[in-house]
Subunit: 210 residues, 3 copies
């Protein structure tokens, strides 16, 4: 399924860019930029493969993944140095597509190993979001996904849709395509209308109930 492979590499590049930008916000050196880019792009898939005992992990099986992440990081630094603007909206949309692809591939890999449905959903979400969580932890930030617009919820929905559709044996990889569309649509809607999940404020009990 070569279009899925191309989308996967596209997701690696986009996630590497978000990693490089975060490293720049922390004034890291060029090595730091590279490392954060690689971790953001490949951390989720690595964690999935390690927990599923799926050896060799994705970037050892195929060294194109590392190459794409490194080139995306270098490209980001060069782009910013040339004082080109970052197209924020374009990046958000690209990130949503990367997230969708990673989630569906992660769910697919887990299902192929015959894990329970709950574990397959977790693996899908983990593949989609763990790289970004690692990026934020290393950069000493509380991971964004726990705060901002619906992000992982989109992954859960897409993962479940993939699992359900996969049972139906649809033709033409419709299960993969529709699940990617679900993540993408939910995520883009959340960005467009600033949709968020309700917060759980533990220390605000004396405020009037929301």
């Amino acid at each position: 399924m070569s279009w899925l492979y191309a989308l996967d590499l596209f997701g690696v590049a986009v996630f590497a860019i978000t990693g490089a930008l975060m490293a720049g916000r922390k004034s890291m050196d060029l090595f730091g930029v590279m490392v954060i880019a690689i971790i953001t792009a490949l951390g989720g898939g690595t964690l999935r493969d390690v927990i599923l005992n799926n050896y060799p992990v994705v970037w050892i099986r195929n060294d194109l993944y590392i190459l794409v992440a490194v080139l995306a990081a270098i490209g980001t630094v060069v782009w910013v140095r040339l004082t080109r603007p970052i197209h924020e909206t374009g990046l958000l949309v690209a990130d949503a597509l990367g997230l969708a692809v990673f989630t569906v591939i992660g769910t697919q890999v887990a299902m192929q190993q015959g894990v329970p449905v709950s574990a397959a959903v977790i693996m899908g979400v983990m593949t989609g979001v763990a790289g970004g969580v690692m990026r934020d932890i290393i950069c000493n930030e509380i991971p964004l996904i726990f705060h901002k617009e619906i992000y992982a919820t989109a992954c859960i929905a897409g993962s479940v849709v993939y699992i359900v559709l996969h049972q139906l044996n649809l033709p033409a990889n419709m299960d993969v395509k529709l699940a990617i569309a679900v993540v993408l649509i939910i995520r883009l809607a959340a960005i467009r209308w600033h949709l968020g999940l309700p917060r759980f404020h533990l220390l605000d009990r004396d405020r009037p109930p929301e």
Copy 2:
């Protein structure tokens, strides 16, 4: 040993509650609460199983673990939203029991794979405390266990007691029961009398020696 399995699930629920409460203190959204709860409850066992190459990891082998953690997280949010108070002491005692059970099970799993004693103790302690450490790191706090009353020291003691007693071939799982009791007693005593280990202050050398 079904009572040990029941205690294990009890520990999962309690750790998930502490994770959900910490997520609430950081005003995370409902997805964040769920993730932190799952990581706190199952992070230690996952790390143990990954390092011991013990596949499939505990929550893939048995999806009841995830279910219990998720229900405990939802229950916590509902409970707090209904403005019911958290019974602090009750939670601390429950946490001590969960810690004891996780530590002994972790040591047991490691011993069954024939690792050296030092590694078995580390695996026991890791199973008991790593979930809480991950919770604190993601929430951008220095892990509590390195600061507060004797916590991991109780795990070390229980782990060693289990290893010693296990050689004696005691009847009726006395090795498991006594080791759990050791962790529980040390931890409860530490809470009751605020016992702590001496601190190591590197920058306070010019203060009068303690």
Copy 3:
């Protein structure tokens, strides 16, 4: 190759000392000091072995590693309590040697498993630096290696030199020796003349270009 094994244990001791000192700077208790020392000393090798599915991991295979790390941590606390000064330069040089040895051993282990060159370099760098990164994350600091003088860059150079020389089948382990020398020389030069990589400042675009 017993001198390499001796150097490896030397690296474990030095990394454990740097971990214990960082824990002291955070006023952790004695258990915290021990844990941070062990994680700093053995975290990189553990991560490498887990990702390479190289079981049992280094400190389960040989319990001398844990023993050396624990003794180094205890020795550090005793030394500081006796108000002996830390010889900063000596520690930096020792750390550079430990880094060099860890990097070359990590690259060697990865090459023996037949991974691609890019993955072997990453494994070498990871073995050298991941323990220190984990130490900094747990202690709630942005990892030093992304900020300070050339550190991981020295690892990359040493790892590449090892891979190239290893193809030449030099006698007397010259590949290992020369690669260790490369890391050591680059690192010591960076310390001596405060060499750093250029930073990537994302928010400073309006400053005059550097």
